[in-house]
């Protein structure tokens, strides 16, 4: 090979490498990764937890803080390592980013507010404190997050398909009700892993606890909600069917209910 040709080839390759490296860095999520979540419990984290979290979640993370008595849904008991809103498969522990997301955005329809009044560093410092309450984090590792593919485009057809799944295949109405108001025949007897009564979600309010985007709703069907009766349907439904169900469930939102 002539030296000139070799040079151009090397040049081409290095240009490609540089471009792809730039692309990878560009694509990588910058939210929690860039945040530098500490791996060990820090003094700062302990103080933040004690000041802002322990009133509800308790000094030892058992969900038994002084004001927890009057609350329903109850504050999370961290000792079991059961976290509702995750991107990991059913039963798995959450990733640090999942916990960070819940702290930052809060849980609508509950007493958990979005803790955006704290600095990002404060929110991140609490995460190892929460993890230290449960022995599950010592024994197990969180599984890899679920791969959310490209969303199926919402059409009338997908909504109709989702309705079929809701009413016939999975019988979601048994708990969530035919109109999605959370008043199905089995709704009254549901309780969570800690023995407290739990109400199936009312879709008409439109305030989805794990987030309102269709990606968030899709994730709830795929990962389930640990610690609650809501199972994962990752094995029951195909990827497309879960998107259809997502579109149907979002179509149940009633604008007049959302303002309440």
């Amino acid at each position: 090979m002539k030296p000139k040709a070799l040079l151009s080839k090397v040049g081409l390759w290095s240009a490609t490498a540089a471009a792809s490296a730039a692309l990878v860095i560009g694509i990588a999520p910058i939210t929690a990764k860039a945040l530098n979540i500490p791996t060990e419990v820090t003094e700062d984290g302990k103080n933040t937890y004690k000041k802002y979290c322990s009133a509800c979640h308790g000094e030892e993370g058992k969900g038994d803080g002084p004001v927890a008595r009057s609350m329903l849904p109850k504050p999370r008991d961290f000792t079991r390592g059961a976290y509702k809103f995750r991107t990991t498969p059913s039963g798995s522990l959450p990733t640090d980013e999942d916990i960070y997301r819940t702290i930052s955005y809060g849980v609508p329809n509950s007493t958990m507010i979005p803790w955006d009044i704290l600095t990002e560093q404060q929110r991140a410092s609490v995460i190892p404190v929460l993890k230290s309450f449960s022995e599950a984090f010592e024994v197990r590792k969180p599984e890899a997050p679920v791969d959310v593919g490209l969303e199926v485009r919402p059409t009338e057809k997908t909504v109709a398909e989702g309705k079929k799944i809701y009413e016939e295949k999975l019988e979601c109405w048994k708990c969530h009700g035919v109109e999605g108001r959370g008043d199905g025949p089995s709704a009254a007897e549901q309780e969570d892993d800690f023995g407290f009564p739990i109400k199936p979600f009312d879709f008409t309010t439109g305030k989805f606890k794990g987030g309102n985007s269709s990606r968030d709703v899709y994730l709830r069907f795929t990962t389930g909600l640990n610690g609650t009766p809501m199972p994962s349907f990752a094995k029951e439904l195909t990827d497309e069917q879960r998107w259809c169900l997502t579109h149907y469930v979002i179509s149940l939102i009633k604008p007049e209910e959302t303002s309440k």
């Binding site: 059913s90 039963g91 022995e135 024994v139 009766p229 809501m230 199972p231 094995k235 029951e236």
Partner: protein, 244 residues
Amino acid sequence: MKQLLFLCALFGFLSWNVISSENTLADNYTEVEVKDGGTVVGNVKYMGDLTTLSLNLYADFELPETSKSATEKLIVSTVNNGLKYAVVSITDITKGKKKAIPAIHPIIDQQRNTFIPNVTAIPAGTTIDILNGDEELHTVHTRTVKNQPFNLGTTYKQRISKTFEYPETIKLTCDLHKKSYAWVVVLDNPYFDITDRNGYFEICDIPPGTYKFQVWHEELGKLEKEVKINPKELSNIEFVYSQY
């Protein structure tokens, strides 16, 4: 070539590391060859008042749809007061026979809104297949801390395989049918047995020595007994639960 060798060596080292860490992660039970082991046979009895409880000796036979008592918490034989579904195990054994993990997965089936069988005892590391034999939706929900908990919806003829790695007593429930449940007792050694419908059990190849035997029943709780095992001898023990 050198690079390839180095990579091979690195991979070998890493995989060895993983294997050794798994070994240390396992329990304090070591497998040895047992040549002159003793055997224990026995009976678990329930001597409480039988008339006050709605007992059904033929509880897990084919029953007509009208009969709802396919799962009873307390199944006592009317012949000899033997108690079914009690798990007998040795709690303080540190070495003994090989832990045989069943190659064919034990099955827990959901039929007519009931888990069958009601109690399953397995050595740690066993995979269980959970089936759905009903033409309606069921869920399988566990609340474990060490083993990975799960909560999965299952439809007709669905099969879920789950491996239980750590010794724990686990309750499986279905959130749609509140009455149905099953127990999976995961033990760290192979010395255990479940009583049959007349309350009999058998544990064999036990190295000679004195051991603590424990019996567990979901309703009646635990009983303990120390038994001395002599080489190549058959010992007989009896556990008796008094009034419930």
